[in-house]
Symmetry: C3
Subunit: 274 residues, 3 copies
């Protein structure tokens, strides 16, 4: 099912405008390159509209948010909408501060997002503002497991309905949903939470996948999420070979993204459509 | 002596708020994760008090200082003090510019730090303002060796007395002191100065160690400093196996932190209490 | 021809002030260290003149430009000029937005640069403002190959004449020129464009090479460009041994820079003087 997605990625080589946090930005740029797209990071209000105009898609990530970049996010988002470029929102740490929560809702009220990707706590906050966001990781009581998948599919679909976006909730189990279907993806590895940036990298990659596949966003997002999850598994196996630790794992994770294609993904993906 | 320190780290899994420079921030985040804590980077004055409130400890690092973040550092520091969260100061490059020196003293005069960690030139500057800080590395004439340890222990203890903080001076030999005792730690490797961020990573890690051990800060800081030094040695051995260079070294350094525990540390640490 | 260049680098251990983008800054810092120099990143207008004063050279990189840092670039550049420190300009993405283009010309009109390094699209823009800059990568129609080298040598020399600087155009083939001679360097590997920051790292390294060799800038820049290109080849060979991907490649690239010396470079360089 992912053959066309990857073919388009190779053919379009989308240019992805990222307004993202300074913690993981270098890994996001390298992950976007690894998946076959090309990143450009720019966040000054004096240039974001022009930069977005020459790009294929836009990724807005609210980690290390600052008053300086919020207006840039809004300007870029509106410009991307005007040009019908797909836009990804990564609401990092929404709920952890009023500033992040307010900014997330300002963005959602003023920009039309094609994709919203977050952990379960973040996505909950977008709906009810009462989830517990403990920093940038999902709260333990919000973790997705086999017994509560239905509840999280319903959450994803409710958020999808409200914001007219594909919603990706990532964690031990990943959910990619629009308002009436949902992919459940069971790839990934717990070590992904022992490095910074696996979520941010995924959001960057999704900018590439949907930039090359604007007519098929649900499948493109599922392919991107599965690519990241399977890369996380491949990285773990390779890390064991080299008797490594978390930084070796990070290296091999981006390596695996750079070596991913439809054949490898088809062999390793564990995906279900509900 | 470090068993309880590591046990607390695993049990508490402290959340460390870092206001740190954008050069080494990704390595700091990964090092904090590697040691078993969880980082959150946030530096906007609009959210730092809230972010600090949900965290266990705070790390303030003045590398790539900007006028925008100085007020954030003060706000977060005061809030951490109000909540009795331990706070680490890393006075990167203090003495290299009036702006850095002034900011360091403003912080020291307005925030109560549990730990101050720097190289010998930086720590000297905190006391006398006449040390020669050449950029962000210690000046060669400030290097600690067997013949002048006593002098640097006295320096650390004088700074400790003045600011009521545990003081860690790191270099070829590390000193961790309060006003009447001092650990001398002889771990580490010269390659640590051939990568950026080993000091910043250590300060981040100390945020984790003391966040989990607020009642035992001197020992916790010694454990953190020893963890970093021994990891530097382990990384060097592994780098040689792979015929690598400085970037491989950086990878293996963080790997070693992620694999560290009381057993490995006990076997490799060279520590002396004076 | 590069023996003296490396000897000076080892002896001077230049301190390089970098005002650079936050995407690749950690790799720039590590690359500068790897080549034997020492980096200091500082971009606040309140300290850049002082920081530049204690350094050997200055590197200005306009990626992730912001209104906050443009005045800092001008202040630092003028101060470096006043002290006769060599200055490198990396006009990342010039032409991609009016803000970047305007800033590049403001810098060129107010600061005397010793070296300008960019890809072919960026260097074209500095001359004619009509090149197509697609984000931060060179446009495909601006790529340098054996059939159009003369044309790019002429471009480099015209830019060199206009701005009284050594000009380095890097790509599949690299050109390093002053107004009447040009080195053609045929080292490098296509994977260098699959990671972020190879251009930024090179500009940082050039700050080290010319800081240690201010009397011999053309040769120093050629040595720096050749070091980067050959390191890109060595990294590729090693990556194949480990069956790696782009992130392993990035690690081995910096490793190779850290292991480079006149002997290795002499053996592997493919350089021609026209």
């Amino acid at each position: 099912m992912f053959k066309e997605i990857f073919e388009n990625l190779r053919q379009v080589r989308p240019l992805v405008h990222c307004i993202t946090n300074y913690v993981t930005v270098v890994d996001v740029a390298n992950a976007v390159l690894a998946c076959g797209a090309s990143p450009i990071m720019a966040d000054d209000s004096g240039e974001v509209e022009e930069i977005t105009s020459i790009c294929t898609s836009l990724v807005i990530n609210i980690g290390t948010l600052s008053k300086r970049t919020v207006p840039s996010m809004l300007l870029a988002g509106k410009q991307a909408n005007a040009l019908s470029h797909p836009v990804v929102l990564d609401p990092v740490g929404v709920g952890a501060s009023a500033f992040r929560t307010q900014t997330a809702f300002d963005l959602l009220n003023n920009v039309r997002f094609s994709v919203i990707r977050g952990n379960s706590s973040e996505i909950k906050t977008l709906l009810r503002q009462d989830a517990s966001t403990q920093g940038v990781d999902a709260d333990i009581k919000d973790s997705i497991h086999e017994d509560n998948i239905d509840q999280y599919v319903a959450l994803a679909q409710e958020v999808s309905k409200r914001y007219h976006a594909i919603v990706a909730i990532t964690g031990a189990i990943d959910i990619v949903a629009d308002d009436n279907q949902a992919y459940i993806i069971r790839n990934g590895h717990p070590l992904m939470s022992k490095i910074t940036g696996s979520g941010c990298m995924l959001s960057g990659i999704l900018g590439g996948f949907i930039g090359a596949n604007p007519a098929n966003i649900l499948t493109a997002v599922a392919a991107g999420v599965a690519t990241m999850g399977l890369s996380g598994e491949i990285a773990h196996e390779k890390m064991l070979q080299f008797d490594g630790g978390t930084s070796t794992y990070r290296t091999f994770l981006i390596d695996a993204i750079s070596n991913m294609n439809e054949t490898i993904l088809k062999r390793g993906v564990r995906i279900e459509l509900r």
